[in-house]
Symmetry: C2
Amino acid sequence: VTVHLVGAGPGDPGLITARGLDLVRACDVLVYDVLVSPELVAEAPADALLISRAPLRQAEIDGLLVEYGRAGLDVVRLKGGDPFVFGRGGEEALALAAAGIPFTVTPGVSSIAAVPSAAMIPVTHRGVSDRVTIANGHGVPDDPEALTTALARGGGTIVLFMGLERLGELVSGLVAAGLDPSTPAAVVANGTLPRQEIVSGAVDELAELASALPTPALVVIGDVVDVGRRLRAAAERHHAVVA
Amino acid sequence: VTVHLVGAGPGDPGLITARGLDLVRACDVLVYDVLVSPELVAEAPADALLISRAPLRQAEIDGLLVEYGRAGLDVVRLKGGDPFVFGRGGEEALALAAAGIPFTVTPGVSSIAAVPSAAMIPVTHRGVSDRVTIANGHGVPDDPEALTTALARGGGTIVLFMGLERLGELVSGLVAAGLDPSTPAAVVANGTLPRQEIVSGAVDELAELASALPTPALVVIGDVVDVGRRLRAAAERHHAVVA
């Protein structure tokens, strides 16, 4: 008799939380994102109602959660990454709150650190970066210049969720706003999955390097990218299995 | 025959990842942080060697990981939050790489979003905030004015890991750098644990509101704090169990 907003993690099904997995295994209804691993959807009980959010608009999802919640069913809304980090979980929670439906929020491993981590890049590292700014590069921002100025002058690591078609434009904006064009940068596509791909180089050559990569992709800009490069080289040398 | 750097999550033992829990349950040696839940330490095999990092310096931890890794044991280094987010996981990974010891990194749920989430605060929310900057407020930054200027002018949500004794000073710096003193803000102490405490108000009254809170604490500044206030009010009204 509760709707649970649950983070599925960044892609690899082993990265859901223990509690999130318990909730999936006990649900009556599972409403899941496109990017949620099929292995996790398969963890729902055999008689659970499975609903892909793919064909639905946000208002329809909100309506379904309210409807099944009101019917007294245990509903899991399984969302990629973390529900409250670029996940519209807040909107779903407000819709449930407005309708008087009890709900819980179970956080997930967000791509913002797990995808860099899968490329061995720590988003912070002592003596290299003591802060990180995460922004959404999808769509056209309300004020692109304000965004690039804030990112270029903020210092520390920059992490961007984005489609790659606008990467060149965004990098030009960052460099125009003062970012050193030789700053190390990387793009990680399909992060944490077996088909993960990484490119890395100076930020001003990033768009060209990444031109053949698929989406979803995550962009990391900052000196921590070089720490990742050293760790990946070591892992390859020692045939380490990289989780 | 591998050293695994594993994120334990933000405090609540249910928030470790499924893979992280599997690694703990199969290890020969468990080296764990002070803030890791005792329930997770208890998941190690009965004959595993358990080592608290509490009395150790970072160089000693690095040395232990290398030593036990070289001895051919399966070592889990269980770290609060995520190993690569303010976790010194990068330093441990570099030490292992330099010694030629194979290692893996399993990300964890970081406090940076999970603790706000436990207070029902989404760090991003459509129409409210499309970016978030996370900084470390522990210790004295190299250049406090550069930090407060970047944070105050960055726009979006600000999340700070910190002890609370310097909160007043930091807020004064932010307001001096242009942050609106009426910006909504919250401090969450012992986030995700049963003894969690939340205070919230305008940023310029935050230090006073938080003066009695214990550490560790996380500070959230930005309009998303008001979304959290609305969601907590709804949860209380409907007697929802808040995960």
